[in-house]
C-alpha cells in the first residue's frame, strides 16, 4: 500500500480578477445601459444610461485582457 502524494490545490484567483464572471458583469452593464438609453418610460434612466454604458464598456475592455 503506497500513500498517494497530496495533490496541490489550484490557487484560485480573486473574484474580481477572474475573466468569466467579470466579463458577464460587464456585458450585463452594457446591456442595461443600452436598454436605459432607448427605453421610453423614465427620463432618469436615460440620464444615467451613458454612465452605465461607459462603465460596462471600459470594464469589458479591461477584463477581456485577463487570462482565461
Amino acid at each position: 500500500m503506497t500513500a498517494q502524494p497530496p495533490v496541490p490545490s489550484k490557487q484560485k484567483r480573486p473574484f474580481f480578477l477572474r475573466r468569466g464572471p467579470m466579463e458577464n458583469i460587464a456585458t450585463g452593464l452594457i446591456g442595461l445601459g443600452f436598454l436605459m438609453l432607448f427605453q421610453p418610460f423614465l427620463l432618469i434612466f436615460y440620464t444615467w444610461s451613458l454612465v452605465t454604458l461607459l462603465a460596462g464598456t471600459l470594464m469589458f475592455i479591461i477584463v477581456s485582457k485577463f487570462p482565461e
Binding site: E23, T27, I30, G31, G33, F34, L37, F38, Q39, P40, L43, Y46, T47, W48, S49, L50, L53, L54, G56, T57, F60, I61, S64
Partner: protein
C-alpha cells in the same frame, strides 16, 4: 553513309557550340544590365532596403494604411471628443473655444427631444432588423432549394440593394403618393379602403412604418445574401446522415440548418444594426424627420443640433454617446458571435 553521319554529327556539335555562346552572351548582357540598374539606383535607398528585416518591411508596407486610418477615422474621433467638452459652434470657427466640462453631456442626457429621437431610432432599428432577418433568411432558404430559374430570381431580388439611396428615396415618394402612388392603390385593392384616404408619409401614425418598409425593401437582399452564404456552407453529408436517421424536414431545420447558419445571421444583424443606427439619407429624402418630429431619428437630430442650431459642441457630445452605445453593444455582440462559432 559514314561520311553523311560524320557531317550530321559535325553540324550537331557546331549548333550546340553556337547555342552555348548565345546563352553566355545573354547571361553576360543581363549581368551588365543588372549592374547598370544597381549603379543607377541611389545607393543609400538600396542599402537601406537591403538592410531591412522582414518585420521592418511589413511595417513599411502597412504604414500608409495606418496613417490613412489615423487621419480619416481616429483623428476626427479624438477631435469630436475634444469638441464635446467645448462650446464650439461651426458657424463661428474662429471664435475662442471655452471649456464647458460635462455640461454638453448633461444637457443632451436631460433633453426630452433627444430622448424622443432615441426612442424613434430604437423603434426603427428594432423593426427593420426583425423584418429584414425574417424575410432575408426565408428568401435565402427558398433560393437555396435550387429550383428552376433560381439564379435569375436571385439577381432580381438583389436589384434594390444595388440602387442608390437617393434614387430609392425619390421613387418611393412617388409610390407613396396618395392619388397616383402604386403603393396606395395596391393597399386599396387588397383592403378596399380608398387610396387617397391615407397618406403614408404625411401621417404621424404611418410615417415611421413607411420608412421601415422602404429600408426593409432595400436591405433585405443584403441579409439574404449573407444567409445564403451560410446555407451554402453547410455540407450535404450532414443532411444525408440526418435522412438516414429518418429525421423530419422540421427536425433537420432546427437541428442542422438554423444552428449552422446562425453565425451568418448574427453577422448580418450586426452589420444592419450598426448601419441602421446611423440611418440618415433615406429618412431625409422620404420625410425629412417629419411630420413634426415623428421620424426624427438620432442622426437627423444630431445634424440639426450641429448645423441648424449651430450647437456643434453639444452635437459632438451626442455623437460620442451614440458611439459609446454602438461600440459597447458591438463588443458584447462579437463575444456572443464567437461563442456561437465555437459550438
Amino acid at each position: 553513309m559514314t561520311a553523311r553521319i560524320r557531317k550530321r554529327t559535325g553540324q550537331f556539335f557546331r549548333m550546340r557550340r553556337f547555342k552555348t555562346q548565345v546563352k553566355s552572351v545573354t547571361h553576360t548582357s543581363s549581368t551588365i544590365l543588372g549592374e547598370a540598374v544597381a549603379r543607377a539606383t541611389p545607393v543609400p535607398i538600396a542599402s537601406r532596403i537591403r538592410g531591412l528585416s522582414d518585420r521592418s518591411m511589413a511595417w513599411l508596407f502597412i504604414t500608409p494604411a495606418i496613417a490613412l486610418l489615423l487621419a480619416v477615422n481616429i483623428f476626427p474621433l479624438i477631435w469630436a471628443i475634444y469638441l464635446s467638452f467645448t462650446n464650439f459652434r461651426a458657424n463661428r470657427p474662429n471664435a475662442a473655444l471655452e471649456n464647458v466640462g460635462l455640461s454638453n453631456y448633461s444637457r443632451v442626457l436631460n433633453d426630452p427631444n433627444i430622448w424622443q429621437a432615441m426612442q424613434t431610432t430604437a423603434h426603427f432599428v428594432f423593426w427593420t432588423i426583425l423584418l429584414q432577418t425574417l424575410i432575408g433568411f426565408s428568401l435565402a432558404y427558398l433560393i437555396d432549394r435550387k429550383f428552376r430559374g433560381h439564379a435569375f430570381w436571385t439577381t432580381i431580388i438583389l436589384v434594390p440593394m444595388m440602387l442608390s439611396p437617393a434614387v430609392v428615396g425619390n421613387f418611393w415618394r412617388f409610390l407613396y403618393q396618395p392619388q397616383i402612388g402604386l403603393f396606395n392603390h395596391i393597399v386599396s385593392f387588397l383592403t378596399g379602403i380608398p387610396p387617397s384616404s391615407f397618406e403614408m408619409l404625411g401621417s404621424v401614425r404611418l410615417s415611421p412604418w413607411a420608412i421601415i418598409i422602404v429600408d426593409t425593401w432595400m436591405w433585405t437582399p443584403y441579409v439574404m445574401l449573407i444567409c445564403l452564404a451560410g446555407l451554402r456552407s453547410i455540407p450535404d453529408y450532414i443532411y444525408e446522415a440526418a435522412e438516414v436517421d429518418r429525421a423530419s424536414l422540421w427536425r433537420q431545420f432546427w437541428s442542422i440548418t438554423l444552428p449552422m447558419a446562425l453565425p451568418f445571421i448574427m453577422l448580418a444583424v450586426l452589420f444592419r444594426g450598426i448601419e441602421n443606427f446611423k440611418m440618415f439619407d433615406m429618412v431625409t429624402l422620404l420625410t425629412g424627420g417629419g411630420p413634426g418630429s415623428t421620424t426624427e431619428v438620432a442622426s437627423i437630430t444630431l445634424k440639426r443640433e450641429a448645423f441648424e442650431s449651430w450647437r456643434t459642441g453639444r452635437a459632438s457630445a451626442f455623437a460620442i454617446i451614440l458611439f459609446v452605445a454602438v461600440f459597447g453593444l458591438a463588443n458584447i455582440y462579437v463575444k456572443a458571435l464567437n461563442k456561437v462559432k465555437q459550438r
